[in-house]
């Protein structure tokens, strides 16, 4: 499936399009099908998000999983500083990236 991601303009945080707004958690991302271009155009105009782009992902038992490792690193945080990631209490979460 296709999902949309970007960065919060003000904070730089990685964010994912939920269909209604933006979330920091990739599991909240929704498939956008053929609407990606229109959503990105509309959201870019709000000036609250930057670097918006569409990526491939799949739905797994663990939730939404971006297809490429770079996007999985974005979704989680640096694997070498799990204390700064979105799953600071789960040191094993880094394996999800690989």
């Amino acid at each position: 499936m296709k999902i949309i991601t970007g960065n919060d303009l003000r904070t730089g945080d990685v964010i994912w399009w939920t269909g209604k707004g933006w979330s920091r958690f990739v599991n909240d991302a929704v498939a956008v099908g053929d609407d990606a271009e229109a959503i990105i155009a509309q959201q870019n105009a709000t000036q609250v998000v930057t670097d918006t782009h569409v990526i491939d992902a799949e739905t797994t038992a663990d939730g939404v999983r971006p297809a490429h490792i770079k996007e999985r690193v974005r979704a989680l945080g640096p694997t070498v500083r799990m204390d700064l990631s979105l799953k600071p209490g789960d040191p094993a979460a880094a394996k999800w990236v690989i």
């Binding site: 303009l9 904070t11 730089g12 945080g77 070498v80």
Partner: protein
């Protein structure tokens, strides 16, 4: 150290105010990202994988304690309690908020620092020998010339939109500690037969996608004509550099394509013209700058005696100190490479501690090295034990300088938007594999460098052992190379063969060190043995299993 005059300070303050206005307009929606991006990049503000990243310039790697303390305070106040020292002697913060960026730049300006020209196709921060002004083998202190370069290159209108970024290094010793020949321009201060000082220009080096060692273009340029020669070299590049292809736009490609002789001819022609224009900075300005770099007030009675009865201290002294030009003094290298740690990272508390040590014991000076370590350049030997104890308490007394765990590694895919593979986990695993200091010392000098993409920020081409992370169909893969060097014997590494996964490359490194230990002769480093016996024995060892399995 150089201190800003009113012109320097007002220029930097004005830039802060300008950027504050630009950020406000961006946040208010008055500027689009396309309009704003080049403006933020001009101020060192990138958008990386997780947040904005701010790259702060450390001019020729030199810091005062006040500046270093500010770097620690910024890490606490605006980031997540740490900073990352880079292979270009700068520092980067990984978790910056756009709305905070102007305040950070204002804080930096208050201690005569900035992030100007740490991005973009302009002349970047000039790098230099981290032992400048202190090393026993120094011919000329390169710092006044590096400062002159800083002033010349900052906001230089003609060179603000070059075909690509441009990096200059300058050294004043025979020993190259700045990877000088792997820069767009490397300048070595030399002495001729008449005893006169001059600049030797190496032009067209670089790492990245197409690594090249810079050829000598100018043999001996009088120091007062250094700026004119640079103007000529840059002007020829600016005119003919390949703006049509980003991957062929660095000066090394131009020098390679037209040949060093033809490039030299054009530079000499332009140089002759520029000399007629009288564009050189006045000699008085160079003398004014030199005044900031006079030797500190060394104790002429300082003793060389040292109590080495503490074995851990003795190891650290042996590994991490370097000969100083003055009796009774030494140069201290603070390794930012703990076993299993992140190369180049330091916490805010560690940064402030190093600032305090510089103030109390090193005439208020620190240096950042391109190997991602910190130097206290002027330490009285009598103070070494106290310093070591304080470093040890802070986890900064790693006695591994230039050993296999003193790894250069770029941020890689854990932080960098350009990376294809993670660098840091590989560095961590290698340092853990070789954690035993006795084993490391048995291996001796072994410079291992890791890059997470072909841009080579981790200098893998110049590693005795180099590792390059690549993306192979969405999976991290690591190419191994041997034989690189960045010193006086600069050479580029040769790829061993097929790549490895993360654990496989760690195993391969260990097998290579086994070959070295078995084959070395007296006094040989890993690099020397490799150069003598060639790739074949190493290749045979590291691919043995694959060969056996067909």
């Amino acid at each position: 150290m150089y201190q800003y005059d009113n012109y320097d300070q007002s220029m930097v303050d004005a830039r802060v105010a300008e950027f504050r206005d630009q950020v406000q307009r961006r946040l208010a929606g008055e500027l689009t990202e396309d309009q704003f991006k080049p403006l933020r990049l001009k101020n060192g503000l990138y958008l990386q994988l997780h947040a904005y990243m701010l790259r702060v310039a450390v001019p020729y790697g030199t810091l005062s304690s006040r500046q270093m303390r500010m770097l620690g305070d910024i890490a606490d106040k605006y980031d997540r309690g740490y900073g990352h020292f880079t292979t270009r002697q700068n520092i980067q913060y990984n978790w910056i908020k756009l709305e905070d960026a102007p305040d950070i730049l204002a804080d930096l300006a208050s201690v005569e620092m900035h992030a100007i020209q740490t991005s973009g196709n302009c002349i970047r921060n000039t790098t230099s020998d981290q032992f400048a002004g202190a090393a026993a083998d120094e011919l000329v202190d390169p710092r006044p010339y590096a400062e002159l370069l800083r002033q010349w290159s900052t906001f230089h209108p003609e060179f603000d939109y070059l075909p690509r970024k441009f990096k200059i290094a300058i050294i004043g010793s025979e020993t190259d500690r700045a990877a000088m020949k792997l820069h767009d321009i490397g300048i070595q201060m030399v002495k001729n037969d008449a005893g006169e000082i001059g600049c030797k220009f190496f032009i067209g080096g670089g790492m990245g996608r197409t690594p090249m060692i810079a050829p000598v273009i100018g043999d001996f340029v009088p120091p007062l004509q250094m700026i004119s020669y640079l103007e000529a070299a840059l002007r020829v590049y600016n005119r003919y550099g390949r703006r049509d292809n980003k991957y062929k736009a660095r000066i090394k490609i131009l020098v390679h394509e037209i040949g060093a002789d033809e490039y030299r001819r054009q530079v000499e022609e332009e140089f002759a013209h520029i000399l007629t224009l009288g564009l050189e900075p006045p000699a008085a300005e160079l003398e004014r700058i030199k005044g900031f770099f006079e030797q500190p007030g060394f104790d002429t009675n300082a003793s060389d005696d040292l109590d080495l009865s503490d074995p851990d201290f003795a190891l650290w002294v042996d590994q991490n100190t370097h000969a100083h030009k003055r009796a009774g003094y030494t140069i201290v290298n603070i390794s930012l490479k703990p076993i299993g740690g992140i190369p180049g990272d330091a916490t805010a508390d560690q940064i402030r501690l190093m600032a305090d040590l510089a103030l109390d014991y090193s005439f208020d000076e620190l240096r950042v090295t391109h190997a991602q370590n910190i130097v206290l350049p002027h330490v009285k030997k009598a103070d070494l034990y106290t310093i070591w104890q304080k470093l040890d308490e802070a986890g900064l007394a790693n006695a591994n300088l230039d050993l296999i765990s003193d790894i250069i590694a770029c941020p890689g895919l854990d932080y960098c938007a350009l990376a294809n593979a993670r660098s840091i986990p590989v560095a961590q695993k290698i340092s853990e594999r070789f954690a035993d200091l006795g084993r490391q010392r048995e291996l001796g000098e072994l410079k291992l460098k890791i890059s997470g993409c072909i841009n080579a920020c981790g200098h893998h081409h110049a590693g005795h052992i180099g590792i390059l992370g690549v993306d192979r169909k969405g999976v991290e893969n690591y190419q191994l190379s041997f034989g690189g060097s960045e010193g006086a014997d600069t050479s580029l590494g040769t790829i061993t063969g097929p790549g490895f996964n993360e654990d496989g490359v760690v195993d391969a490194v260990e097998k290579a060190t086994d070959v070295y230990l078995a084959q070395r002769t007296e006094g040989e480093r890993f690099l020397d043995t490799y150069r003598r016996i060639g790739m074949a024995p190493f290749k045979e060892a590291i691919y043995a299993k694959e060969t056996a399995n067909g």
